[in-house]
Amino acid sequence: MRRLAHMTVLQRVWWRRMSVMVTKELRQLFRDVALIGFFFWAFVMDVYLAGSGTSMQLVNAGLVVHDSDQSESSRELIHRFHAPYFRFDGEVAHPDEGIRRLDFGDDVVLLDIPPRFHEMLASGEATAVQMQVAATHSPQGLSAASYGARIVGEFGRDASARAMGLPANGDLPLPVVRSDHRVWYNPNQDESWFMSISEVLTITTIFAVLLPAAALVRERERGTVEQLLVSPLTPFQIMFSKVVAMTLVILAGTALSLFGILHAIFDVPMRGSLILYFAMTTLYVFTTAGLGLVAATLATNQAQVSLMTILVVAPMINLSGTWTPPEAMPGWLSALMLLSPLHHFVNISYGIQLKGVGLEILWPSALAMVLLGGSLFGFGIWRFRRQFA
């Protein structure tokens, strides 16, 4: 009985020390005014800007037309290249002038309609229109061509319906395959959902790796870690308290973005469990912090640790699978990306918010994060102990 009471006292002391250390870390962080100001900028403004006006889909692509026919048909065809995909920027007298506009980068598509276009259509002759696409951005270039083909295809179908004396805009009495699409999870392909979620992931990652790593190395660089080591704190407590403090701050930032921007402004749905979402974000921040801690034990000063962590952070963000399709990566690289916690968290974050799924589907990603985080922390604490043994 007495022994049990003794244990609880020890435990209470242990927790009390932790809370003192966490408070110390939080105070220290909040006194860095520039950093806190930036924290708000990143979690609020950056997320807002990313969601409010960026589009990777074909939007507002500048179109110039060289119309050698100037007929009813050519005008109808031009009219069909419309917003939001294309932005009609006027006609040019000569194709070379159009190419020059493409060179300047003001426009990306030049449509060239041949002479006698209307005449040939009316007489049932086959004709062709040319489209020059600036492929400096390859996905958008392909997309412009694909939309162009669809528009011209429909225009041709309507023209042939008229030629056969049938009503336009209906199904022709022909054996054709109609494309019926159903886009799931984000039926309107609303890019603000995708972008704002992706931006929260980016910002969370930057802060989760860099904050604890720098905090740890700073103590060593300034020599204050010696004071901590002669105190009754264990190395685990010294390290873990930093991670707990930074995790609390980052969770607050995530909540700010989620409720203040994603839900309030962009109407991003939360189809899954909110509690699961925050639990998984906590797990992610811990795992990612482990990465920073390992870097911290390998570096001797803050400049080194900053470079090392950023060396890792930039590929984590760029190759997470949100910007570019992971299927397209070469095998060795996609194997390497399995080691990135963000690779797994992307599935979880989009899965909970947009797909409304839970752990029954996401458990492999969650398990991968637990394993990664566990080994990173274990390694970090082992190195940290050894350095001061």
């Binding site: 950093l35 696409v133 039926p187 000063n301």
Partner: protein
């Protein structure tokens, strides 16, 4: 201005950098490693889309139709579904990104000259990819339909195939891609990666180099010395600009020789503007370093200021024309976009100053303003 004093500051800074082996190694390695990983990893081609299918018709014609998907390099067959409900968990887990459902009587209706709808379920989590997937499906459907319709019209009306084709599809679209004829993702991405790396690496080195002195207190040696503000800044920044000046050549070489991007423009123009851009990003690092007091803050602020605007507004993955009105304004406030224009111009388009003068002028303006602000912010007599 005393050149000896500038040289003294520069050589002190250089020695400090060289003696910190890991810092030095990272200063040169980071650009190379990033270029390697991003160059190989950031493939924009939407290919090998994992899909499943449900063939309710099981006919000759439905198999012919599906064969087109199986043959396409855009789609990767992951299996046949037993019923429509089986698609949901696969899509939810991200195991497939599309499911194709062929209705009953597919063959019967087509042979009778009627239209048939084929349903495609597409994962909309990543809108660009769902849009491109949609485009592929529509293209495959259109090609398949055209063949059937032409044969049908030719048979029914007793026309030649050529005449029937002109009747069914009177207008063809002939597409030519400029600047990147085969629409290779590597040609798009490798040149702008040079821009991306040069936005991130130089300001980081600079910001850390200066805040390091502030945080450790060694900056007081400078405050109390005879070195003037300008001499200190020039001497301090010179080694970092030097490192980046070398890295530009390495990055350019990797883009051209490793990733096979074409370089059609003037090499001197590219190098000069890249150096100008490095001065700008270094100036950004300088300003950040003067406004913060810890290296932790310097690193985070520089990264957030560099990665985020470059990814979103720098024309790296999103064309600037596709941005909304507010974001357009923000994009024009960051220098990355102008350098992207120069990168596209010199690498892919092969145009010179006659087209790019606007962008070069704006970059010169940026460099002047940023470095002047940096000079103005740097005080030898700290206010606080």
């Amino acid at each position: 201005m005393n050149l000896t004093r500038i040289a003294a500051v520069a050589s002190k800074e250089w020695r400090e950098t060289v003696r910190d082996r890991m810092f030095l190694a990272l200063a040169f390695l980071i650009p190379i490693l990033w270029m390697l990983v991003f160059g190989y990893g950031m493939v924009l081609d939407v290919e090998h889309i994992p899909y499943a299918l449900l063939d309710r018709d099981q006919s000759q014609l439905s198999r012919d139709y599906l064969y087109r998907f199986q043959q396409s390099r855009y789609f990767d067959f992951k299996g046949a579904l037993s019923d429509e409900r089986a698609a949901a968990p696969l899509l939810a887990a991200g195991r497939i990104r599309a499911a194709i459902i062929i209705p009953e009587k597919f063959q019967e209706r087509l042979l009778a000259g009627q239209a048939v709808g084929v349903q495609t379920l597409i994962d909309g989590t990543f809108p660009l990819r769902s849009d491109i997937t949609k485009g592929y499906v529509i293209a495959i459907n259109a090609a398949f339909s055209e063949e059937l319709a032409v044969a049908y019209v030719a048979r029914m009306k007793g026309l030649s195939y050529e005449r029937a084709r002109a009747l069914v599809q009177p207008v063809k679209l002939e597409v030519r891609y400029l600047y990147n004829q085969e629409v290779r993702s590597a040609w798009t991405i490798a040149p702008v990666l040079v821009m991306f790396v040069l936005t991130l690496a130089p300001p980081l080195l600079t910001a850390l180099g200066i805040v390091r002195e502030k945080e450790r207190g060694s900056i007081y040696n400078i405050y109390s010395s005879t070195v003037s503000r300008l001499e200190f800044l020039i001497g301090k920044l010179a080694p970092y600009i030097g490192i980046s000046a070398f890295n530009i050549v390495v990055l350019w070489g990797m883009a051209v020789y490793l990733f096979g991007a074409p370089f059609k423009g003037n090499g001197l123009l590219f190098y000069a503007t890249a150096l100008l851009f490095v001065c700008i990003t270094t100036g950004q690092g300088l300003i950040v370093s003067l406004l913060v007091s810890t290296q932790q803050a310097a690193a985070i602020i520089t990264v957030v200021l560099s990665i985020v605007p470059t990814m979103l507004y720098g024309g790296l993955l999103v064309p600037v024309s596709a941005l909304g009105p507010e974001t357009q304004i923000v994009a024009h406030l960051f220098p990355a976009m102008y350098f992207t224009n120069i990168v596209h111009g010199t690498f892919l388009k092969g145009v010179g100053l006659e087209v790019l003068w606007r962008d070069v002028l704006i970059l010169v303006l940026y460099a002047t303003v940023l470095l002047s602000v940096g000079y103005w912010l740097f005080r030898k007599r700290p206010i606080a």
